[in-house]
């Protein structure tokens, strides 16, 4: 159980450790703090987006112990001690992941607001299934709503990344 501090008004705060993108952050949160908000507001990791806050759009997708979840439906206290990957943790030292590169080259990004969640869902898919079929790609990103692309180039980009073809022929 994490340490609990109570302020003068009786409000309890929990000292928790979130392991985000390999960094351990020990922070104080209220019990009702939502993981999305803690990542964004306390850790300044604003790549995790707020779209619907009800688990319908997938903009807030993060990997929790390697698995994609809607961080808007996770209490930060519930993630205490767990491994979290946000979009900021997908590329290392400016080297883009193949999915990211493929998404740029296939014009799979438009407004970009769904993109972080989309990349993470695709990343989780390719980690457990390196050579998915098109229906498997569609299913893996079905929880990430995109209002711009009709998903055409996104699906193409993820499939291409899985086949090591991050640059399309028409480039």
């Amino acid at each position: 159980m994490s340490q609990v501090l109570t302020d003068k008004d009786g409000v309890k705060r929990y000292l928790i450790t979130l392991n985000v993108n390999g960094d351990a952050h020990t922070i104080l949160v209220k019990g009702n703090a939502i993981l999305t908000n803690v990542l964004r507001d306390q850790l300044d990791l604003t790549g995790t987006k707020k779209g619907c806050e009800l688990g319908d759009c997938g903009s807030c997708t993060v990997l929790l112990d390697g698995k994609p979840v809607d961080s808007c439906l996770v209490l930060a206290v519930e993630a205490d001690g767990r491994e979290i990957t946000t979009i900021e943790g997908v590329s290392a030292n400016g080297a883009l992941d193949a999915i990211q590169e493929s998404m740029i080259n296939h014009a799979a990004v438009q407004c970009g607001y769904c993109t972080p969640g989309m990349v993470l869902s695709a990343k989780a898919l390719l980690t457990r299934n390196p050579h998915p079929t098109e229906p498997e790609v569609r299913e893996a990103i079905a929880g990430n709503l995109c209002r711009c692309t009709g998903y055409v180039h996104i699906v193409e980009a993820v499939l291409a990344a899985s086949q090591g073809r991050v640059t399309p022929d028409d480039h």
Partner: protein, 768 residues
């Protein structure tokens, strides 16, 4: 046109791609400022009610609350987007007009405190009878949404071109049909946000806006400030689709809260509040009558529409005019009558959604045209080809069309969809449908009256020539305009895209541009950018001429190299020439501006729908219907567009995909639903069914070779045109599959099932 281009016409990667895929891109709601407060707006729980009293004292006492404001604390000047009907206030003072109307606002230390403070504001309402059914809003005895608008009429249009009655009387066949469209919502994935702050008398607002200029204009007007003291900055924008074109309570209330507290204030909507603010597609009731000759040539069209405007005007006057104005685009006919009432109701205001005004009338007309074709025994593809608009024609409502490959689009769609085979061989339950669409390439006139140019651009070549920055007021809301405009700048300069930088959409730094609406930027902003680029190029060639001691006429510049056209080997890099220019003559700058020519006729409303150029497109879709459940499976969609010269093919097809995706949702899956108190029943993304990746069929998007003589490099619109055919295309594909016509949107599984059931019952009754 057979010119060789180095930069345009290539699918270069988006300039903002790396920032967006890594999560580094900052949207308005991602920004933080020292000492920043959070603001929320209290809205009405009633569709129509008088405000008796507002007591904010309890809210003010809550720790962490820094300001609470109501109508007493803000300007009372009415605002709106259509200048002819400013009818909205920052906060309601006398009465509220829809569930979600703005009543008060708070600024607090954190978000949590905002919600607690809102709950402590006591508003006493006296509920009034509400107008919720737009078809009865004009009836005698209905309550008035705005006392000054009799019979709740917001906009009334009666236009006639040619002699419709005579043409109908002479027609071989006349048919009337009635269709009803639904209210939809843009639903961008990024919720609206604004961060307002003051430095002395200067107001700066970071906002999720499609038009920093219009925001600047309307906010300055509301607060009685010079425009120069209002700075609007658009950070990355997470989609808009028409829903972020006008300032909202977030900017107006946020500015007041920031002024009162002396601190930056971030205001924002959650998803349900976005639905309540709305400004989505109007629901419309559409009666259409058409007369044709024996070959199916259209002789006259009569359109009689009513649209549900909701509680305020927004851009709705334009929507009302657009509904009729764009109907005669894709087919040629001389006699046309258009009657329209846009009525007020106690529902959220409607505005401009992708395809502004046109998709629902297109649904009605394309469905109706298939009915006419069926009456005459003509193939739906043939009746469209027979009537297809030709280039260099003028519509009955005085729109001049230059380039137009409507017929080629249809013919190509026929081939790639395998139309003729499918028409013969598809079994019952499978069907194929076609529809056409057209859209403006930018509006011919601004939203408010002004003689300012519509777009302007600067290019600054950096002192050492290794980079050039394009400054533009245009808005990349995802469509890729930052990328496309940098391609255009580089092409015009003779420079390389990879060395371009862009600063966009900041009214203090970037030159005037009206922003992202009416599919205007590639053409209009592009025209200004091209001019600016050419100005740079001219200076570079002049400088190179003196450096190489060659006549300017002999020099050209491509891809960052200045070279002699006549002497091999005589060349300089753009970079060294630019640097020399800076040393000898000072900054190397280019500027450009674009103003459209005077367009359109002189009748009332003649300006709406005018444009220097129009896109055209044809869409074919194939569906499979489950006869027992009505479930619709989309087998495939084929889109062929005439959108002029293509600057970036991948981005262009992305626009087609997105536009028809939105149209597809509106066709079958999306509808904003209200209960009998005017409350939205599905103000979320579980039951407002934005389609998922699993719902999308294979899509084939093609363009026909096209060149628009009036546009920079021959470009035209693409961002919205592909929404316009989709609804009618689905209606026709379902009709083809099952032989039943669903006359109201969305064409839900249940409606299809019901239509089939009724057909079976009818046939059984006929047999008996």
């Amino acid at each position: 046109m057979s010119a060789n281009y180095n930069v345009i016409g290539r699918s270069v990667p988006r300039i903002d791609g790396p920032e967006k895929v890594t999560g580094a891109a900052k949207y308005t709601g991602d920004l933080k400022f020292p000492n920043m407060l959070f603001g929320k707006i209290l809205t009405s729980p009633h569709a129509h009610a008088r405000i008796i009293s507002i007591d904010t004292s309890e809210a003010e006492k809550l720790p962490g609350v820094k300001a609470v404001i109501t109508h007493k604390d803000v300007p009372t000047l009415k605002y709106g987007l259509s200048p002819a009907r400013w009818d909205e206030n920052i906060f309601c003072s006398d009465k509220v007009r829809f569930v979600g109307d703005k009543v008060a606002a708070v600024a607090c230390l954190d978000e949590d405190t905002c919600y607690k403070a809102l709950k402590l504001i006591k508003v006493e309402f006296e509920e009034l009878p509400a107008v919720l059914d737009f078809l009865h809003a004009m009836d005698e005895g209905q309550p008035l949404v705005h006392e000054e608008y009799e019979r709740n009429i917001n906009t009334e249009i009666h236009q006639e071109f040619g002699d419709v009655e005579k043409a109908l009387a002479e027609a071989h066949h006349v048919r009337s049909d009635t269709f009803v469209g639904q209210r939809t919502y843009q639903s961008p994935i990024e919720p609206h946000s604004a961060i307002s702050m003051w430095e002395g008398e200067k107001l700066t607002i970071y906002s999720s806006t499609q038009s920093p200029h219009y925001f600047q204009h309307y906010i300055a007007r509301e607060f009685g400030m010079p425009m120069g003291d209002v700075r609007i900055i658009k950070p990355y924008l997470g989609g808009g689709f028409g829903g972020k074109l006008e300032p909202t309570g977030l900017e107006f209330a946020g500015a007041v809260l920031a002024k009162l507290t002396g601190r930056p204030v971030r205001t924002f909507y959650d998803r349900a509040e976005m639905f309540a603010h709305n400004r989505g597609r109007h629901a419309q009731h559409m009666e259409i009558t058409t007369g044709v000759d024996k070959d199916g040539k259209i002789l006259a069209v009569k359109a009689n529409f009513i649209m549900d405007g909701g509680a305020y005007t927004s851009l709705g006057i334009a929507s009302a005019y657009y509904a009729g104005a764009l109907l005669p685009m894709t087919y040629e006919f001389d006699n046309y009558q258009f009657d329209m009432f846009r009525v007020y109701t106690n529902l959220p205001a409607c505005g401009a959604q992708r395809g502004h005004g046109a998709p629902q009338p297109k649904y009605a007309f394309e469905s109706h045209l298939d009915n006419v074709a069926a009456d005459l025994g003509i193939d739906p593809m043939d009746i469209r080809i027979i009537n297809a608009r030709r280039p260099d024609t003028v519509t009955p409502n005085d729109f001049k069309v230059n380039s137009c490959k409507m017929r080629e689009c249809l013919e190509r769609a026929r081939v790639i969809s395998d139309w003729d085979e499918k028409k013969k061989n598809l079994p019952h339950g499978r069907g194929i449908g076609v529809a056409t669409g057209s859209f403006v390439t930018g509006a011919g006139y601004p939203i408010y009256r002004t003689d300012l140019p519509h777009a302007a651009a600067f290019i600054k070549v950096h002192e050492d020539g290794t980079a050039a920055t394009l400054y533009t007021g245009s808005v990349d809301l995802g469509q890729g305009s930052d990328t496309v405009l940098c391609q255009m700048a580089a092409e015009a300069m003779g420079y390389r895209y990879e060395q371009m930088k862009i600063v966009a959409a900041d009214t203090e730094i970037t030159p005037l541009d009206f922003g992202a609406y009416a599919s205007r930027q590639t053409y209009m902003s592009g025209a200004a950018v091209k001019q600016a680029g050419e100005e740079v190029r001219k200076q570079v060639l002049d400088m190179a001429s003196s450096m190489l001691n060659l006549p300017v006429d002999d020099l050209d510049c491509e891809d960052g190299i200045v070279f002699s056209k006549s002497r091999e080997g005589k060349s300089l890099t753009f970079q060294e020439v630019a640097r020399k220019h800076f040393v000898l003559k000072g900054p190397l700058l280019g500027k450009g501006a674009y103003t459209p020519p005077k367009l359109g006729g002189s009748f009332k409303g003649a300006a709406v729908g005018t444009s220097p150029a129009y896109s055209f497109g044809a869409q074919v879709g194939e569906v499979s219907i489950d006869k027992e459940t009505g479930e619709i499976t989309v087998v495939g969609i084929w889109d062929v567009h005439d959108c002029g010269k293509v600057i970036n093919p991948r981005l262009l097809h992305g626009q087609v995909h997105g536009a028809l995706y939105m149209g597809m949702g509106e066709s079958v899956w999306e509808e904003v639903l209200f209960d009998d108190k005017g409350r939205i029943k599905n103000a979320e993304l579980a039951n407002y069914r934005v389609l998922t990746a699993m719902d999308m069929p294979p899509i084939q998007s093609e363009v026909v070779d096209s060149y628009e003589p009036s546009g920079p490099w021959g470009v035209k619109e693409i961002g919205e045109g592909a929404t316009n055919p989709t609804l009618g295309m689905f209606s026709n594909a379902i009709f083809d599959a099952m032989g039943v016509r669903v006359n109201s949107l969305p064409l839900t599984y249940e409606k299809v099932w019901r239509a089939l059931k009724e057909k079976r019952e009818r046939e059984a009754a006929e047999k008996a």
